[in-house]
Amino acid sequence: MTAVPMVRAEGVHKSFGPLEVLKGITLEVAAGEVMCLLGPSGSGKSTFLRCINHLEKINAGRLWVDGELVGYRESGDKIYELRDSEVARKRTEIGVVFQRFNLFSHMTALENVIEAPVRVKKVPRAQAVKEAHELLARVGLPEKAAAYPAQLSGGQQQRVAIARALAMRPKLMLFDEPTSALDPELVGDVLDAMRDLARQGMTMVVVTHEIGFAREVGDTLVFMDEGVVVETGHPRAVLANPRHDRTIAFLSKVL
């Protein structure tokens, strides 16, 4: 093994009560890689993303981010649960962008972006504001710093959400269907911002139904169904020659 993978999952299981949602997920995301997750509704894509930053606790298997166990600490042959504050600190290294944006609705775009750097990382406010303006410019919204989320379009909100996640200087970004709540004409701007990010070498795990984006930007495509990884490969290869029946059936519906 040359380098430590950014994400490594080994037999990850997750159940909600009697419902087993993840039935042993094993995969690796190398540093700088863009992995696109594809799969029918209810297949467990969101759940897997949430496990990566410990918003959900896994029931079995192992999950590492940048070589460290998620939610646990290994010491000798024992595994200890992490405290809330330690979990919180690890989460600062992982940016998450949600389908429904989830911007803090009582704060302006700028306040949304500087909140975590100032409160969590204790970055001086002036510096955080300067960086926030740069980030908002980078996602194409230099003039929207003072706007409240309710005053922004969905696409603009999602780009602010990306800027907010980037403000913590994460080493990994998770996107959960970042464009599926958007009107078609607003999707492009958000995908542009993500493409930009991929080009700059960010490690990304992207749940998406944007086949075009997966084909163009993705390094790997993972097709999930009913809690298992059905097929993995280079996006162009998988999209052109899917090998499994379930992949073929799914792609025939979305393409």
């Binding site: 930053n53 918003l55 809330d84 504050s85 919180a88 600190r89 690890k90 989460r91 600062t92 992982i94 940016g95 998450v96 949600f98 429904r100 989830n102 911007l103 803090f104 609705s105 009582h106 909140e115 975590a116 409160r119 969590v120 990382k121 409240y148 309710a150 005053q151 959400a161 907010r164 996640a165 913590m168």
Partner: protein
């Protein structure tokens, strides 16, 4: 609305003949007669003794009572809100003991009359002659005093009103916290904010919109409820006028004095609440309705418009 801006003139109203509501006119007329009759009887019945009302309204003893009423309201509301937030957060704790204690507290306090609670606090000395803070189960004492010295009637009143209010505020704060979208908490957590930071910075500010209106009602309620402390010999507004009329036998005018003051402050609170609600209503995209003052101005402007048209 947009057309009114361009040339500064009111837009022409639709020149339709409005529907005549004869029923409304009849009901309005009957009500006016009844009100006029009431005003006549109140102002001409000598037993209201309006001159006595005027004489005592600003008297020192009454004003002291007013001050006491305000002190009690402010302190017990402060205690109630603080306690309410703590109890609401406890109630949502994953620790069943912590949430259970909060539930029990609310259950007990809301299940017993405030008047009884006030009496209990004033008789606390009978139950615990000495109040002490120290190591539990009879360990060394850090601070202590005779209950009758520590729990004065004023302290008993504050405890009774504040601890009672805490239970009601707990439910209000909890409803507010529950109204905040789960996604807000998740995105705060995924940014590495701790549970406390998320609560303070993200959840509570957004819960305010739901918490503020009923809190205004509670404040008005507490203001009036301070009158109950007269039973434990705290000289609030009601007890002050009672003391006066126990000597002068002018019960009616003195109770009117009390009512006037209660009305003054409940009115002030209502107006304050109206504007605070508007303030926290911002950020929702809907446009705010005009305030009564703005509506009044609009009405005057419209009437002038009608007068001008009829004059022309």
């Amino acid at each position: 609305m947009a057309t009114a801006v361009a040339d500064g003139r009111q837009p022409e109203e639709v020149p339709a003949i409005p529907v005549r509501h004869y029923g409304r006119w009849v009901v309005g007329g009957v009500l006016l007669v009844l009100i006029a009759n009431l005003v006549y009887s109140v102002s001409n019945n000598p037993r209201f003794e309006w001159s006595v009302v005027g004489q005592y309204l600003l008297s020192e003893r009454v004003l002291d009572g007013v001050v006491m009423m305000l002190e009690l309201t402010v302190i017990s509301m402060g205690l109630g809100i603080t306690l309410g937030v703590v109890l609401a957060v406890m109630r949502m704790s994953p620790n069943p003991l912590v949430s259970g204690v909060s539930w029990m507290y609310v259950w007990f306090v809301r299940g017993t009359p405030l008047l009884v609670q006030l009496l209990f606090w004033s008789f606390i000395a009978a139950l615990y002659p000495r109040i002490t803070f120290g190591v539990p189960f009879g360990g060394p004492e850090l601070f202590g005093g005779h209950a009758n010295v520590v729990i004065t009637p004023f302290v008993a009143a504050i405890l009774g009103l504040g601890l009672n209010e805490g239970a009601y505020m707990a439910e209000i704060v909890r409803a507010g916290i529950l109204s905040v979208d789960e996604g807000q908490v998740e995105s705060a957590h995924s940014l590495g904010m701790t549970r406390l930071q998320t609560l303070r910075r993200i959840v509570l500010p957004q819960a305010m919109r739901v918490i503020i209106p009923p809190t205004g009602n509670e404040t008005i309620q507490v203001l009036k409820t301070t009158s109950l402390v007269s039973v434990i010999a705290v000289v609030d507004l009601l007890y002050a006028v009672q003391l006066i009329y126990s000597q002068s036998y002018q019960q009616v005018p003195l109770l009117i004095v009390a009512c006037v003051w209660y009305l003054v402050f409940t009115t002030i609170l209502s107006i304050g609440q109206y504007y605070i609600e508007r303030h926290y209503g911002r950020g929702t995209s809907r446009q705010l309705p005009p305030t009564p003052i703005q509506r009044g101005r609009l009405l005057i402007r419209r009437m002038r418009g009608v007068a001008a048209r009829e004059g022309a």
